[in-house]
Symmetry: C2
Subunit: 461 residues, 2 copies
């Protein structure tokens, strides 16, 4: 298996980035029921070659520019293997002390490496971090915790009010740049939400925020939380932690940062200007599984309200109790599931075996590729760049109406050798293409990709 994986990655350029299978292809290639007798490893791998590989989209192909990258590295695989090798379930400190403690330790390492505020360190009075599956799960958890804190507070004074009736008055605020999972998290949590306007850089307009919150309060609604985008999915826009954070503080509304993609930038000093004001935010989530070479899933959430996060939904049936409970963190209480994998191992292997210097270089390299692509676009007569390219995402379109860019995407789709995803900026009615760089591409790859796109566009025009 080790050889297969090494070969797969070494030879990944031999494949088109996108597969050419049709829905339902797999059931035609594999048996329709589980085998009664064992099938050998070799036979299983033959089926991998025949049936699985043709249906893989190659996320680590140099021409994969869709969505945002998901991380791949050998140190991460080693950590992941070891996690499976121990095969523990970290549902309590006692169920494998190393699982809880390494998670706490590496998240403290990350606080320091990213120069996040000390209030997020495990040694702080009420802060700390946890590894979750995704930024979506983080949004759901911070909303649910704040929702229930607010319910309890109100019910202490008005015990006759139903929880749901109270929640009907709660409102969460974010801009159209927020990830779709934020809207979904509100629906899952039964919370109302409102979109705040954005400025020309697509960052949240704090005057609009203040206005809406004040109006809502006047109408008897309960402003609960603002969720900031820090490297948004559509345009890689950054809300200002300083402006929004300070505004939230003055409005007495909690403030969560969804830095799923953008957060990893903060290991490089040159991006720390984006951190200005982070001391005002209450929680911060970023995904090492995007740019930090740690396999999906590894999403980090820090909060300055650890005690509430772990108490609001805690359950401790007798079979999980242990004698040292008062001295340990029980991370299960901050997440949806009871069971926990030993995910800290893969992040720890990555931080060790690369070291911060190499990880910084990798971040810089991917951002430089974006700059290179932006320069090429700006040198042309036909393209325009839609976003402020601060990090690894370039958003671009053909000048003129949207129809041309849609046609360009249709042409590019027919060729499975490049994979880009489209997006839209509603307020300016701009349809555009997203090129999200990864550390697997070289300058030559990006130039070739540009030339391919340019050639398709020229032909179209």
């Amino acid at each position: 298996m080790v050889d297969y994986i090494a070969d797969y990655i070494s030879n990944i350029r031999q494949n088109d980035v996108l597969p050419s299978v049709e829905p339902g292809y797999l059931q035609k290639l594999l048996p329709d029921s589980a085998p009664t007798d064992s099938v050998s490893f070799q036979q299983t791998m033959d089926q991998v070659e025949k049936a699985i590989l043709p249906g893989i989209t190659h996320w680590h192909h140099p021409n994969f520019y869709a969505f945002y990258p998901t991380a791949f590295s050998f140190p991460s695989i080693l950590g992941s293997m070891l996690s499976d090798g121990f095969g523990i379930n970290g549902l309590s400190w006692q169920s494998s002390p190393a699982c809880t403690e390494l998670e706490v330790l590496v998240l403290d390492w990350m606080v320091k490496a990213m120069e996040m505020p000390e209030k997020f360190l495990s040694s702080s009075e009420n802060g700390g971090g946890i590894i979750l599956s995704s930024a979506s799960e983080a949004s759901v958890m911070v909303l649910l915790v704040e929702r229930n804190i607010a319910i309890n507070k109100i019910q202490q004074e008005q015990p006759h009010l139903g929880s749901g009736a109270i929640v009907d008055k709660m409102v969460v605020y974010f801009s159209k740049q927020a990830h779709s999972s934020v809207e979904r998290a509100c629906k899952l949590s039964l919370l109302n939400y409102k979109f705040v306007a954005t400025n020309d850089d697509e960052a949240m307009d704090v005057e609009d925020l203040s206005r809406i919150v004040a109006e809502d309060r006047k109408e008897g609604l309960i402003p609960l939380m603002v969720i900031l985008a820090f490297g948004s999915t559509s345009l890689c826009a950054f809300d200002s932690l300083y402006e929004v954070g300070k505004t939230c503080l003055s409005l007495d509304v909690k403030c969560h940062v969804d830095a799923a993609y953008g957060g990893a930038s903060l290991i490089c000093p040159e991006y720390r200007y984006l951190l200005k004001g982070v001391e005002y935010v209450n929680s911060f989530c970023f995904n090492p599984h995007k740019l930090l070479k740690t396999h999906f899933d590894c999403s980090v959430l820090w909060t300055d309200n650890r005690i509430a996060a772990s108490k609001t939904f805690s359950e401790c049936p007798l079979y999980l109790a242990h004698d040292l409970e008062s001295k340990t963190s029980e991370l299960r209480n901050w997440q949806i599931s009871l069971g926990r994998r030993f995910r800290a191992l893969k992040l720890w292997f990555v931080l060790n075996m690369f070291g911060m210097k190499n990880l910084q270089e990798s971040i810089r390299k991917h951002a430089n590729l974006a700059k290179l692509f932006e320069v090429k676009l700006n040198q042309s007569e036909i393209f325009e760049v839609v976003n402020n390219v601060q990090f690894g995402l370039v958003c671009f379109r053909l000048k003129g109406n949207n129809e041309k860019t849609r046609q360009l995407l249709d042409i590019l789709k027919q060729d499975h050798s490049i994979f880009l995803s489209p997006s839209i900026l509603e307020k300016r009615d701009l349809f555009f293409l997203r090129l999200a760089c990864s550390a697997h591409s070289t300058e030559e790859d990006v130039v070739k990709t540009y030339n391919k796109i340019y050639a398709a566009a020229e032909k179209l025009l």
Copy 2:
């Protein structure tokens, strides 16, 4: 790493099952910040030996009888490695068709292997399955989906009613045997819940259920769902799918089965008597990561309402849209997170490389160990068995008051060579010990464990 894992498992008996570290031990052994330069694999493994291994609770030690087992097997590790090797994120069918399609296929395999009703097959009109992280996540998802379907239905007739105000009237029903995560899922979902009485076998009393639901309806409440325990955590009790399922149908209440532990039994024909009435239930969850040799996390959820499950919370931003959408399942919509690992690979490797016959033997072996332990207890004068031992869990105590059994547990705890967890049957005020068998123990291990416990008890008495 492969060698390290093989050695670890081969030599696992050399360790005590429980570690002897104190909270905070790890930060004394490892650096307090991430390394700037890379640390070699060998140095990292030296730290594993020095700092991680001493803090591991050995879940695959033959004397691990706590909680319920979590699965370990080499085929599962191979599948997991390949999943990391491809390193894809299955957030849509297009993002790796094989990821969605293999998941659909192996869950169909399982429906057939367990003789579950055809309404759970992907080829059925409105049924299908998904792999989730845990039974907790499954409970949350089925509750959230039903909650929102019910809200929408009521709001169609009474559009002025707030969602929360409607939810304040909704009630979920289960017995005290339900897992703690079920209670927690209700709190996360903002749903009221009520405990239904149980009979002498700790199965749900359907007369009590009918009575409570009728009363609630009379009071204007909205009975939403009944959640059944199928191999409960405390006592391995089984609610009757037939009796409860039929009752739910007549009461017009949805019915979900949490078979996290017990579900795997159904691959053996001799346990299928427990399935009687399964055609009445609406959804069913079980964890291959407990007894089916597939590493945590791998929890299967089937529902007979696939379309609602995938539509209720679906979000499809433009960047996730693809041309073949109308023909594909988008499993992300049935779960909390957007991202999806390729977990079907490890289950598929397990089903292939063991084959159903060997998996059945493994289930039987673990259940026979429980029978053996039960016989030993029943032959003694001092112990009594608390549960009806139908599967792999034996619940036992010293005859007489609870204090003696508590003292016995305290003595056993001082010795880190056996790991059992306690539980309590509140309605009879019985404190007891749980011995959950695994496929890693032999008859000799179980007899030795019995002798050790007996010796400790004799000394105590």
